[in-house]
């Protein structure tokens, strides 16, 4: 509750939808977000892409990504709206702040670890170190089993 929840919303519009419709829907979504005291962080239009499989009768679609902060009520409302709109053939809304924060934390921890290793004059980087360990173990088990 302390920090705002961040969500990523991706929706696919039917390939028949015009530029105008795409911008209209974007504006509509933005207004809903602001109505629910949310904030739009980023929006990305991936343009027309081929779908991995057919959805309805469509083989391609226009992808739009919106990153925003807000509440659960907001996502519920967006979900409801997008379900109703016919030109949207698929949409997905996921909460990302927790995962991103976790990723950030791991990265920071690794940074600290690297600094410590440098300070101690030890070799830096987990890759080669772990690789060597693995190699040793592997060889041993190989010999044991053959």
């Amino acid at each position: 509750m302390s920090q705002a929840r961040q969500y990523e919303l991706v929706y696919i519009m039917s390939p028949d939808a015009t530029e105008q419709e795409v911008t209209d829907l974007h504006a509509q979504i933005e207004s809903i977000i602001t109505r629910y005291q949310g904030a739009l962080v980023k929006t990305e239009n991936w343009g027309r892409r081929k779908l991995a499989f057919r959805i309805g009768k469509h083989r391609e679609g226009t992808y739009v990504l919106e990153v925003f902060t807000g509440t659960g009520e907001l996502t519920k409302e967006l979900d409801r709206r997008l379900k109703v709109i016919d030109s949207v053939i698929r949409h997905l809304c996921v909460r990302v702040d927790e995962e991103l924060r976790l990723a950030e934390r791991t990265r920071a921890r690794r940074e600290v670890e690297t600094q410590k290793r440098i300070a101690k004059g030890l070799p830096v980087g987990g890759r080669s170190r772990r690789g060597d360990d693995d190699g040793g173990d592997d060889d041993q088990s190989d010999r044991a089993e053959v």
Binding site: V10, I12, F53, L65, L100, L102, D138, S141, D142, E145
Partner: protein, 100 residues
């Protein structure tokens, strides 16, 4: 690889041995087994993005099924995250559910 081995030891080495032999499709004597290291740990990937279909593609070969980690060598934590990412990508038609 080594970790996986240790983890499975308790489950019964007999069944494991059988499974392995079938997988390799031949006698293991004198065969060099490639060391498997989790790709995400090695590249220090913290967040597996479901929007990056190119990155996920090697983990859904041919039939578009998720590659088991006994083959890919991905660690448990990253396999879990990978699974979520692949399932999300499938919802968005970035990856196929199946191909034939």
């Amino acid at each position: 690889m080594a970790e996986e081995r240790r983890g499975r030891g308790g489950a019964g080495s007999k069944t494991r041995g059988n499974g392995r032999g079938g997988e390799k499709g031949g006698p293991r004597r004198g065969m060099f087994r490639r060391r498997k290291v989790c790709k995400f740990c090695a590249d220090k990937v913290d967040y597996i993005d479901y929007k990056d279909a190119k990155m996920l593609l090697p983990f859904v070969p041919e039939r578009a099924k998720i590659l088991p980690r006994r083959i890919s060598g991905v660690c448990a934590m990253h396999q879990r995250k990978l699974q979520t990412a692949i399932m999300r990508a499938r919802t968005l038609a970035l990856l196929p559910y199946s191909t034939d």
